[in-house]
Amino acid sequence: MRHWIWLLVVGFAGHWLRAEDYLSIEAAQAQFFGSDCQFQVTSIPEEKALSKAIKKQAGVALHAERIRAWKALRDGKCVGWVFEDNVIGKHEFITYAVAVAVSGEVLDVAILSYRETHGGEIMRPEWLAQFKGKTVDQPFKIDVDIDGISGATLSVRNVSDGVKKLLVLTQMELQDEQNR
């Protein structure tokens, strides 16, 4: 019995490191569009039909409850959208932000919170830069048009799928609304 107690005591004593948040959504918004923009909260419909349609095109379902969205306004004119999304990592959710242009292409991506053991490279600007300019027509597949990161393939896949999902959402819901 003593053996088990030793392991538990020493084990829990090691739990000193906490999840790390690297960037706030406000900082990401300013990084994406500049400090002269205003950000207006935009609601994401929690409709099963929409989620199904997005899954058909993007390959992953829309979990609206994990997403927050803002319309970026400069001098009252929409210049794009910012999304904050949470996707499944190996242990915890990965929180990331995406800026999408009015044309529907990715302007930028930032990791807000990453808590996994391996794969810290996912936060590097040079890795994230590969998303810039991508549109819904691109595959978003590891080793096809997305660079893999060893030890973090699940994180890379889910973030990549997530970005594509948000582009599809933009195309299906937000661009139409903007054009109306």
């Binding site: 392991l7 020493v10 739990h15 000193w16 490191l17 242990h91 053991t117 060893s150 030890g151």
Partner: protein
């Protein structure tokens, strides 16, 4: 001295770190990234052979290193403690034995990853291992063994990674020679010539992340061992749940595996439907590790 060695083992392993397992025995197919180190400790309690008293503790300390993004090397030490009394099994358990800890063996393993589960749809790794032991894990007495093992680990993600299926199949060949024992009961069989055994194991399991960092799993293990003289020496099916906590720097897995059914060689007076000579009715496994 034995207690000292045990404590050194515990602290050495826990101050470094560990590979992350969601199950008691079943391994995942994901490799370590290049340059990553992991170290882990396993403590397994095996108990209940149907009659008498039987309780064994097995310890493993293993360090793994990612040589490349696909090739992982690992090495480890094993130890054991045992308390058995009132149990005599001809050819296997020659009498009472009790000690808290002895080093029992060393192991070297390598694994090569062919497919990554998140990238290729299904993960596939092949492993190869060699193990040298000098204590019998069943009786606790001297027994020199050399084992070679090989097999494959499979893994697939569902629900964006929230649900994980894993499976493995492997074979192990062992050449073993028991040490001489004095004071054996009359007519007790205790062969000291070299024996060769062949064992194969199939495992499968599902693990579900029910909240961030916490997984609950269920695994099954089917194992058969063949030996020249008796052909099928033993067969067993174990099943049981695990709960796993995994953080960025610390993880823990607690598993219970119960023998659902077993057959093969039996000893007189044992309960029906189990193999209880080389196996017990239950195993409790605790794995702890820290990433560094």
């Amino acid at each position: 001295m034995r207690r000292f060695l045990f404590l050194i083992g515990v602290f050495a392993s826990l101050s470094l770190f560990a590979g992350e397992d969601l199950f008691g025995h079943l391994k995942l197919a994901e490799p370590l990234p290049k340059g990553a180190w992991e170290l882990y400790q396993i403590v397994a309690n095996r108990s209940d052979k149907g009659t008498g008293t039987y309780e064994a503790y097995n310890y493993e300390w293993e360090v793994e290193y990612g040589v490349t993004n696909r090739f992982t090397l690992s090495g480890g030490l094993a130890g054991q403690g045992l308390d058995t009394s009132g149990l005599l099994v001809d050819g296997y358990l020659p009498g009472d034995n009790e000690y808290s800890f002895k080093l029992s063996g060393a192991e070297l393993k390598m694994a090569y990853n062919f497919l990554a589960p998140a990238k290729d749809g299904v993960g596939l790794s092949m492993f190869l291992g060699v193990e040298k032991t000098w204590l019998d894990p069943h009786s606790g007495f001297d027994k020199d063994s050399l084992s070679l093992s090989t097999g494959v680990n499979l893994q697939k993600y569902f629900l964006e990674g929230q649900l994980i299926w894993a499976g493995s199949i492997g074979v192990e060949s062992t050449k073993a020679t028991r040490g001489e024992l004095e004071g054996l009961p009359e007519d007790f069989e205790w062969p000291t010539f070299a024996e060769v055994e062949l064992e194969w194991t199939g495992r499968t399991g599902l693990s579900y992340r029910f909240v961030p960092k916490w997984f609950v799993s269920l695994e099954a293990e089917f194992q058969q061992e063949y030996e020249t003289e008796v052909n099928l020496e033993r067969e067993s099916l174990f099943m049981g749940p695990s709960v796993h906590y995994g953080g960025k720097k610390f993880w823990l897995t607690l598993s219970y595996l119960g023998q659902v059914r077993g057959s093969g060689e039996t000893y007189e007076g044992q309960p029906d439907g189990y193999h209880l000579i080389e196996k017990t009715k239950r195993e409790i496994i605790l794995k702890v590790g820290f990433n560094f």
